[in-house]
Symmetry: C2
Subunit: 109 residues, 2 copies
């Protein structure tokens, strides 16, 4: 519940799940997520790392620093739960036909 209850967490996980390139940079996430402040983003990333859903890889050999975040196995597995929640929402709350496609163009899950 610490994971799922907090703002931005789900969006971060989904962002790391989307697209071809699975590793995302700090500022890349920041941009994609719209208006997360660096403080909050940094907090969420730390928590997710602590809980083992994501990992961080830092390349400190070159400057400027380059750090990349990516989903772990448990993180990928957690995406399934997010998908279940979405299905529940589609079934009982929002009857949005567009979202029922294999890969929803709106939320990419």
């Amino acid at each position: 519940m610490n994971i799922i209850g907090k703002r931005w967490t789900i969006h971060i996980l989904l962002e790391l799940y989307k697209g071809e390139k699975k590793e995302k940079r700090f500022n890349e996430l920041k941009r994609k997520l719209g208006d997360v402040t660096p403080k909050v983003l940094s907090e969420r990333l730390e928590e997710l790392e602590k809980d083992g859903l994501i990992e961080k890889r830092v390349d400190s050999s070159i400057l400027p620093l380059k750090s990349e975040y990516f989903l772990t196995e448990s993180g990928k597995d957690f995406i399934k739960i997010i998908q279940e929640i979405k299905k529940w929402g589609l079934k009982w709350k929002f009857q949005k036909k567009e979202c029922e496609k294999a890969l929803c163009m709106y939320c990419d899950i």
Copy 2:
């Protein structure tokens, strides 16, 4: 996320799912949940009702008032998500053998 993110919500849903008698009274829930204050419990119940996961039946014919809460179909369906989350937790976080029984004696799911 409004549903799942807030304190006590999950516990309320599980409480309404447990046991033979599926309808639970306000003070019954309050007692079972330990130390929820009536204010918070009342807030959560309202939200859950508004979101359609539970329903309320009031018997105003007799005094003192008697109100009963119970899960709707979508509420019951949501229990499955809670179970998925629990499974995820068991798999990746807490390897608690006792919880893997068909009906866990600790959390009743």
